[in-house]
């Protein structure tokens, strides 16, 4: 009898139970994702955005992006296309300005206004934690929706989260994160009525000074088929930035 109990325990440990323990809770996965994304350092990077809209052709945008981690200040200055070159955005404390190079004027804008006429908003560039915005989706049985699966050849955790505040863009998201280091590989974003609106892929990552950063992000518009945006980062630096960078004068200087 004792032997049978021991055998059952061993079988349980080898078969079911270990795999149950191997899958983290969604809250833990979100914490790990936040941790991976948290640079805890200043950032300067060159971004190239290729926007491919159905029936409208391809548009390329290039910009320099500087962000001060401690104060969450950021500065964006456009370097391409020629028509937008020199235009920029500066966010310092509660102020968010748009700079127009041709008129050399700064205009106060809100966090909800579009950046460079794209779908990106000023608020999207603020530092936010996944765990502050989302919570795990719990099904009718009270279980979290987190599973292990293969994404291509990579082993991933797939989990579903729902918004816990009402001002996030997507009320529901499904994450695919790499099992070994919790790097995000794919995100599906759903509308309030449950329609898939966007799929984002993060195929290339790099490690700079011990921190992971996506080198390429691909956003597929699932609602309006044929729209795709690719964001590529280069020239990444995490060295401490001079506070003078986050000033109107520096934005004007860069715009020349």
């Amino acid at each position: 009898m004792k032997l049978l109990k021991t055998w059952i325990l061993v079988v349980l440990l080898l078969c079911g139970t270990p795999s149950v323990f191997a899958v983290p809770s969604i809250a833990e996965a979100m914490r790990r994702v936040d941790s991976m994304m948290d640079l805890d350092a200043d950032l300067s990077v060159k971004t190239v955005m290729t926007e491919n809209k159905a029936n409208q052709g391809i548009k390329n945008f290039e910009a320099l992006y500087f962000r001060k981690d401690k104060t969450d200040e950021f500065l964006i200055v456009m370097t391409a296309p020629e028509s937008d070159k020199g235009n920029g955005y500066l966010r310092v404390a509660e102020n968010f300005w748009m700079y127009r190079q041709n008129t050399r004027t700064f205009q106060h804008i809100s966090r909800d206004e579009s950046i460079m006429g794209t779908d990106a908003k000023g608020g999207d560039f603020e530092k936010k934690k996944l765990a502050d915005l989302y919570k795990p989706l719990i099904d009718a049985q009270g279980k979290e929706d987190i599973t292990e699966e293969l994404l291509g050849k990579k082993e991933v955790y797939k989990f579903t989260i729902i918004a816990k505040v009402n001002d996030v863009t997507y009320p529901k998201q499904v994450y695919w994160v790499q099992k070994d280091n919790f790097l995000t590989l794919k995100i599906q974003s759903y509308s309030l009525s449950g329609t898939l609106m966007q799929t984002a892929y993060y195929p290339k990552w790099t490690r700079v000074q011990g921190k992971y950063l996506p080198l390429q992000m691909i956003f597929i518009d699932e609602f309006e088929k044929g729209n795709k945006t690719i964001v590529e980062l280069s020239g990444i630096s995490l060295t401490k930035l001079d506070p003078k960078i986050f000033t109107k004068a520096y934005l004007e200087f860069l715009s020349k």
Binding site: E94, S110, D112, A163, D167, L192
Partner: protein, 585 residues
């Protein structure tokens, strides 16, 4: 006088060809003046009483949350409508304005459109009767189709949809969340101008939940007045409403509890400013803990008396339970942590829980509490004039009134900068919201006026020239009349009367011609959706002649011709009788 009148009439008929030609010129001028004025009035009427009504309303009342222009939500619609009705006169209708821009996908074609929520009332039925090209009103009001919509023909063309096709749309909720929905095209409308074709009409009751509004909430309220002849009336009424919309202090009256102990209490939010905190500290003494800092969610200051009763100390959780004003039998329960305990000499604040304003508005706005009846135990709000009054969060911040579109934009930018989480109430008029349209209307009026003045200048030169010729030709006649005893003033008055009579008859003829031309051109159908379409009503030129303006034009022309005739007439009167008789050509 009778003699002068008779002589003037006789002279007019004596020189039939000249009178006819001069009269024709004046008639033409009058005709142009009447047509131009009627057209200008038509444009004003079209802009004020049609376009502005559809686009912004004559007056708009909006509540914006989190200092964001597009985060507009009137949480207690009926209360605000009540205030408007009691303080504004001449209201024709108060319309719930719920609309959103959207990306639409039709049959293989995509386009942008504005979804506009409408209610099927008599006016809408009348509008559909004249505008519905394809479809039935019953399909729009009934429950057969999923989210029925009415689409203008141009938009239907750009989306490649016809009746009973489906449009998929990407929308944003009022808090900025992505929303998507399917709509069924149940009717195709004919557009009258370029502004209209952008709109897709959907039922207000369908659009509100899609955008995240609850039944008792609404976007903004458009106040439209009975036919607006004096637009400045709106400004006066807006000022009256602004005065009535001064906010009260926002308060949540509920039950504070911990464990088995509970007591009725009031939760108030306090402004997160140094000045407000200073005033607060003049009245309260913190005995334990510290004032919650911004962003410290769910932290509260509790009176020591209340804390003693509930056996609370700093760091302990407690719950605040209250009834929702709109969802019957729904109790809202929030848990807070004690950040500080305070004492006060004022007995009235012993059952008060103080919340940092972000934390307070989060629950207050989401679930408006039932207002307590007077004298309820544990209810406290400072009275107006009380030194604590400016410390506590109001129902809304009343934004100052502005006069122009530029001033209004500046006000909104200033609001954006504050990033205040509470609601901001704004009363605006078409002078701010539709300032571009009104500027265009003023510009058109000025252009019309200048054109008419130039035309009249040319005609008046003709009048002067004709009179000079007449005087020259009739010099000997003047001499004869002066010789048989006619006075200088009579000679002068005779010429002036002659001109005025000619002008009067010409004006009558010109007015008649203008009315005929307006009737004829008004019957021509102009099928365009270009910019020109803003001058049209139901695809026809729209003239609005008024008796007042026509009489005004006649008086204007009579005065101006009389003044023009005065100087040549005076010259004729000054001629000596002997010299006039000697005159020979």
């Amino acid at each position: 006088m009778k003699l002068i009148f008779t002589l003037s009439i006789r002279n007019l008929f004596r020189q039939k060809r000249r009178s006819f030609l001069l009269g024709s010129a004046i008639s033409f001028g009058m005709m142009i003046l009447v047509i131009a004025n009627s057209f200008s009035h038509g444009i004003s009427d079209n802009l004020f009483n049609r376009m502005v009504v559809y686009m912004t309303g004559h007056m708009e009342v909006a509540i914006m949350e989190k200092s964001r222009l597009y985060n507009r939500n009137i949480r207690d619609r009926d209360r605000l409508i009540g205030i408007i009705k009691s303080s504004v006169t001449g209201i024709k209708e108060i319309v719930e304005n719920v609309s959103t821009f959207s990306r639409c996908i039709g049959n293989g074609k995509n386009d942008n459109a504005a979804f506009v929520g409408v209610v099927m009332n008599d006016e809408m039925r009348e509008f559909l009767k004249s505008s519905l090209l394809d479809g039935k009103v019953g399909d729009f009001t009934g429950n057969t189709w999923e989210n029925p919509v009415l689409v203008y023909s141009n938009k239907a063309k750009s989306l490649n949809v016809k009746r009973l096709d489906t449009i998929k749309a990407r929308l944003l909720t009022l808090t900025g969340q992505q929303q998507s929905a399917r709509f069924t095209v149940v009717g195709i409308l004919k557009e009258n101008n370029i502004f209209e074709s952008m709109a897709i009409f959907t039922r207000l009751s369908d659009l509100k939940p899609l955008l995240g509004y609850r039944p008792w909430e609404t976007g903004t309220l458009h106040v439209n007045f009975t036919r607006l002849n004096d637009p400045r009336f709106v400004v006066k009424e807006a000022a009256a409403l602004h005065e009535k919309l001064k906010p009260r202090i926002a308060a949540i009256y509920g039950t504070v509890s911990r464990g088995g102990r509970a007591r009725k209490a009031t939760a108030l939010g306090f402004f997160d400013t140094d000045e407000a905190k200073k005033i607060l500290m003049n009245h309260l003494k913190i005995v334990r803990g510290g004032i919650p800092v911004p962003g410290s969610k769910k932290n509260a200051m509790v009176s020591e008396d209340l804390a003693t009763f509930l056996q609370l100390k700093v760091g302990d959780p407690f719950s605040l339970k209250y009834e929702s004003q709109f969802e019957k039998n729904k109790e809202i329960v929030n848990t807070y942590t004690v950040a500080a305990l305070y004492t006060s000499n004022e007995a009235s604040v012993k059952n008060v829980v103080l919340l940092q304003e972000d934390s307070f508005y989060k629950t207050f706005l989401e679930n408006l509490p039932v207002p307590p009846s007077d004298g309820s135990a544990g209810f406290y709000v400072p009275k107006k004039g009380d030194s604590l009054y400016p410390v506590f969060s109001p129902e809304w911040k009343l934004l100052p009134q502005t006069k122009t579109g530029d001033e209004w934009l500046k006000k909104i930018h200033t609001m954006n900068k504050t990033r205040w989480k509470g609601p901001a109430l704004d009363v605006s008029t078409m002078y701010e919201r539709a300032s571009d349209i009104l500027k265009m209307e003023s510009a058109l009026n000025v252009i019309t006026f200048i054109s008419v003045l130039i035309l009249f200048f040319i005609i008046l030169i003709g009048v002067i020239n004709t009179l000079r010729m007449t005087i020259h030709e009739r010099t000997r006649e003047i001499g004869t009349m002066r010789a048989i005893g006619m006075q200088r003033n009579d000679v002068r008055d005779c010429f002036i009367m002659e001109t005025v009579l000619l002008s009067f008859f010409s004006c009558i003829a010109g007015t008649a011609a203008a009315i005929i031309i307006m009737q004829v051109t008004g019957m021509i159908t102009i099928d365009t959706t270009s910019f020109f379409s803003i001058f049209l009503v139901d695809k026809h030129l729209y003239f609005l002649p008024t008796v007042k303006s026509i009489l005004g034009n006649i008086v204007f022309i009579l005065i101006i011709t009389a003044v023009t005739a005065y100087f040549p007439a005076k010259r004729a009167a000054r001629l000596s009788a002997a010299e006039a008789l000697r005159h020979f050509e």
